[in-house]
Symmetry: C2
Subunit: 311 residues, 2 copies
């Protein structure tokens, strides 16, 4: 496969952009990678560790002459960036994004895209709890799904080319309608993050259970929630503000379900609890069979030394 | 260190018992390990893979002559087992348990313990989502906390000896009051499991989002919850039925917190969300510094091949 693009401009240099840079380089998918980040420190690091050949202080400069522009900024910052780069985009260029919400991105970005530029919204379902230009790695997208949500009348050649790039980085690609994407992600990502944040918040606010106890005895399940509740706060603020309707819909269902289980606990209805807990096991098996998680116990965590007490 | 106990009887041969068997053997902590499981299949496996020197079809037989008896059955089964073994316990023996709830276990077990037997309730905060006699491994307790909740007037020598066994298997030991244990665990383990089960249940019930979509696109956070929602249903049913008050208390706080965040989303209060999501990061850092989780991104999961699509 020859390089998918001649010049890729990464706008925003966090976890996804830096992972794309590593992957595109490793798999020979871009002749040239340039970038922009708002923070001078991030631009400096990107050059130091060789993410980009060149970095620019403004997005407008970075996109010039690029045949692929990837918007890797928090969802709430997409509109302003789109307005800035619109007049500087090369004719025939493809613009995509990696935002976790698609409806709001389309609304914010599409109006600024000039005639002859292909705007193809996208979302790689991959990430870690780390952020910033040093957090990326080439295998982040391997066997993960990359959703593209092309708009009506999208140029099929441009979509195919972008799909080739994603697949070249190891991802599986599906196409999906914008609204359906936002609902699916509200279920599989946004609401799970919110309840994880909430549970960690509850633990932090308790007076009768100290923070040090919460931390020491976290291996009983709590620590799993703290990982996803350690994700980037700006990114997640924007997700909830911009996918409000779908998240509120799923939260409503979640609360209903929780109340039914809570009532079963209160009434001592063991049969209901047992049946519920048995059904949910099947979903875990499905995820492992689909190659979306490891079957190794405890995610394959290695027991750790260090920390308090004896090791 | 010489062997902590001459004969250890494991009652119930699931994840915790089988891990104890491996660990006691590896670290030379018991001269002899015998066991009982209700299921003939589990007893057969335990002999086959060498967990126990001998297995017995009844708990009453298994405990005879043992200087340590470990009750490793679901919390709801403890009372019946205690009644059965009571008359057969050796004078001076220690009886402990590994249940995730302590108040209900004390209530169910203590009345059946004869004079001269040391009943010291315990709880290793360690586990995986797997269960059964094949799921154990010797390092399960390494650097994990093992809580002991000795009753008033407990024999300090017997407690010290049990502590030595737990530490010998790599655990850190803390002593705690029974009621406080149940509250702490409601925060760090029981409620997190319930909300994970709930979220997985919500995903399963959606009609507009198919199960196959939930599974395919689970890497955005959902899959983390499915691991803890794949734990043993009987064990968890019993936890919720027997730690009802503490769990309902924490669930009430959880719902309050969730409603406050839900309202912030509805009102578009980005500042509130950002501040909340920033605070919860600190707890994650604390857990990593305390050696209770790995700092490797994504729990150190190895990217997987296989599954749907290209690899």
């Amino acid at each position: 496969m020859t390089a998918a693009y001649k010049r890729v401009a990464l706008i925003g240099l966090g976890l996804i952009a830096s992972s794309m840079a590593h992957a595109m380089r490793q798999f020979g998918l871009a002749d040239e990678i340039v970038g922009h980040a708002k923070s001078a420190e991030s631009r400096k690091i990107a050059l130091e560790i060789g993410l980009c050949e060149r970095v620019y202080a403004t997005a407008a400069e970075a996109v010039q002459g690029a045949d692929l522009v990837v918007l890797c900024v928090p969802v709430g910052a997409m509109g302003e960036i789109a307005a800035e780069i619109g007049p500087h985009l090369a004719a025939g260029a493809t613009v995509t994004d990696v935002g976790s919400v698609k409806g709001a991105v389309v609304e914010a970005v599409a109006p600024h895209m000039p005639q002859g530029v292909h705007f193809i919204p996208g979302h790689p379902i991959a990430g870690t709890e780390h952020s910033g230009p040093r957090s990326g790695f080439a295998t982040l997208f391997r066997n993960r799904w990359w959703l593209l949500t092309p708009l009506d009348g999208a140029d099929r050649d441009a979509v195919a080319r972008l799909r080739g790039l994603c697949e070249g980085m190891g991802a599986n690609v599906d196409e999906m309608d914008v609204a359906h994407h936002d609902l699916v992600l509200a279920v599989t990502s946004h609401t799970p993050h919110l309840i994880a944040y909430t549970m960690v918040g509850v633990a932090e606010h308790m007076r009768r259970v100290s923070n040090s106890e919460v931390i020491k005895y976290s291996a009983g399940g709590f620590r799993d929630l703290t990982r996803i509740a350690a994700s980037d706060p700006v990114m997640w603020r924007d997700v909830f503000l911009t996918n409000k309707d779908a998240v509120l819909d799923i939260l409503g269902r979640f609360t209903e379900e929780l109340f039914v289980l809570q009532r079963a606990i209160r009434m001592g209805d063991g049969e209901h609890l047992h049946a519920y807990f048995t059904r949910t096991r099947a979903i875990r098996r499905g995820i492992i069979e689909a190659g979306q998680d490891t079957s190794a116990p405890d995610f394959g965590r290695v027991p750790l030394g260090g920390g308090e007490g004896k090791t």
